[in-house]
Amino acid sequence: MRDEGILIKHGRVIDPANKIDQVLDILVEDARISRVAKEIKVKADTVIEAKGKIVMPGLVDMHVHLREPGREDKETIETGTRASLKGGVTSLLAMPNTIPAIDSADNVKLIKEIIKKTAQVNVFISGAITKGRLGRELTDIARLKAEGVVAITDDGVSVDDETLFSEALKEAKVEDMLVVCHCEDKALSGKGVVNRGIVATRTGLRGISNESEFARVERDIRLAQKTGSRIHIAHVSCRESVEKIAQAKKEGIKVTAETCPHYFALSEECVLGYDTNFKMNPPLRSKDDVEAVKEGLKNGTIDAISSDHAPHTENEKDIEFDRAEFGVIGLQTELAVAISELVETKVLDWLTLAEKMSLNPAKILGINKGTLGEGQDADIIIIDPRKEWVVKKEGFLSRSKNSAFLGRSLKGVVTHTICSGNLCFTNGK
């Protein structure tokens, strides 16, 4: 009997990689999972009694805006990753739309330095597709890769120039680099701020059609097919996008997709009161689109759930709807929203939820995360699945408070977060 490590006792272990859903003990030693078995009898430094709780791989959130460098007033790598710990996110992909954008080896080095000093969880880096995310000139994908970048994206905008984007896909294929696609045809979405439809008409706000999204999904799939590269469709919000992705998968095109909690939990009616915490891009869609997104999650068309955590200051949100920034925070609510809206309602079971929020995003990014197999990195969360809580501003560790779920009652609380073998966060007992 050794006297070290963390022993998690009697939790319901959910590990989709090994198809495990049963009550087991997990022993963590030297930052790794050393054993997963019934009634492990060792003396450990820390023993966590997890009876009645869910033990899952830490979440892998592949769409997070940490804002640093450049907009530290909205969020920093430190505050964003502290929020991650509380939300159960142990790995994340940082989006490159910082100031400066992560579009060169030097800028990757810059952000790596900040991560090394301040990050509380595993932060993976994405680079820009084009320099300055301006859609004019490609970045040096090989050099970005050499610096450790795991995906490229101009997220926030799509690369409109089809020839240029094809070139990017070809380069990405050579480097085996994932391309994350923000699918929006700006010529169609224009100055829109809400979904095009009855809510836009009632509020007098400009609409954004489903077509502005799915037309670009269609194009990007076509180019992925032509070039043979891997693409990942970010923040899927509408029925037609889900259908086009399903069709592409059937045809064997290398495409994966994610959606975000607001697209399966909320619909366009939320904006009737002009609350800018419901302003995001793509916009909240119709109830029919919400159903399609849920179906897509259930039938496997949509592989992953990410937050698209997009912090903004109150000054940027507490203004006229048209003038407010797009985006909402999500690191601390995504799990509870998914439990409340998908598991409780039997759209997904726990194994599939862990797949969408941990295993699949890890696989898509090609990182060795998202499982509870013996010998794997010890990124583990423990959840009290029955505990209800109300989302309040005071509870956010994120520097910004622009949540679409403020005031909502949600089910499921992260009670422990173990990241790289360390018990980094505990909530309650």
């Binding site: 009632r202 706000l205 002009y274 203004i319």
Partner: protein
């Protein structure tokens, strides 16, 4: 006045947010105020000691003047702020501006704003009353109320009437407020415009959509002709002026085929020869100037009711 209903809302933001009874209460209150403007001394002390601030982020003459006249006939003190000459130009946010006006101990802000929903946002953030004098493409409730008031005065009722709204429905706050108000009072509303000027899913509000003006006028008891804002041609596919007059302009020729007593309204200012011919604008069916007169009574009613609601609330503690 025989209303048992008491007005309780501190704001008037749009007709979407009102019940049929609340709309009727405004109309009957306006009815009782209309007489004030015919007196030799056109003043009642109803809002004496109250301060009304006209906060206009968009240029407007007729609406602002109408509100100013209404407030003054109620003996309120009136202050006009236009965004071009205020700290708004210096970057102050809407909410900060509202709170500053509140700190001056004003009672009512009458706001015109170019962004939809601005009045809703302001009202949520201040304790004083907010009256929406037009926000973006969203609502212009007092315009619709004065349209409905005028119509009721002319035809004796609203319920069961066929009312056609012609013009740029997509970008019109006047259209939206009229649709809500008329529908709540039981009128049958038809909107008529080229397809590009019809907003998505408008039929879900219970209106009939037509593109043929003659069909839209056929059974109409009244037609409300919207101002065409050709300065908006940044929005794509906006029709050309002459083409619009030929296809949608109200002319004597067209009126020969419709109900003899059709009431013709226009929120002003009119583009003569574009939305309607001069003969129609100045003709026997036109109530355009009566609308202007009635606008004062309606706005007096609105200012009176929102001020009273706040007084009642504060006296109840």
């Amino acid at each position: 006045m025989n209303n048992t209903l008491v007005w309780t809302k501190k704001d008037l933001l749009g007709l979407e947010y009102l019940t049929k009874e609340e709309i009727e209460l405004i109309l009957s209150t306006a009815d009782s105020f209309k007489e004030v403007s015919t007196r030799e001394i056109k003043k009642v002390p109803a809002l004496r000691g109250k301060t009304v601030v006209n906060l206009f982020y968009e240029p407007s003459t007729r609406t602002r003047v109408s509100f100013e006249v209404a407030a003054k006939r109620l003996s309120a003190d009136v202050i006009n702020i236009a965004s071009e000459t205020s700290s708004v130009k210096k970057g102050e946010t809407l909410i900060d501006t509202g709170r500053n006006i509140q700190a001056l101990k004003a009672d009512i802000i009458v706001m015109r704003h170019n962004y939809s929903g601005a009045a809703v946002v302001l009202a949520r953030n201040v304790d004083l009353s907010v009256v929406n004098a037009g926000d973006g493409w969203h609502e212009h409730p007092t315009q619709a109320l004065l349209d409905i008031f005028t119509l009721k005065e002319k035809l004796g009722k609203i319920s069961g009437l066929n009312v056609t709204i012609v013009g740029d429905i997509a970008h019109s706050r006047v259209a939206r407020s009229n649709i809500w108000g008329l529908a709540k009072l039981g009128a049958h509303v038809t909107v008529c415009a080229p397809q590009v000027l019809i907003p998505p899913a408008i039929d879900e509000l219970g209106v009939r959509v037509l593109h043929d003006i003659d069909a839209a006028l056929k059974d109409a008891d009244a037609v409300n002709v919207l101002r065409m804002q050709f300065e908006r041609d940044e929005e794509s596919a906006f029709p050309k002026q002459m083409e619009y007059f030929q296809n949608y302009g109200i002319t004597q020729e067209r009126l020969k085929k419709v109900k003899k007593n059709i009431v013709i309204m226009h929120p002003g200012p009119i583009n003569r020869g574009i939305e309607m011919s001069s003969e129609v604008a100045d003709g026997a069916n036109s109530v355009i100037l009566e609308q202007v007169t009635n606008g004062i009574a309606v706005r007096m009613a609105v200012l009176f009711l929102v001020a009273q609601a706040r007084d009642n609330k504060s006296s109840q503690g």
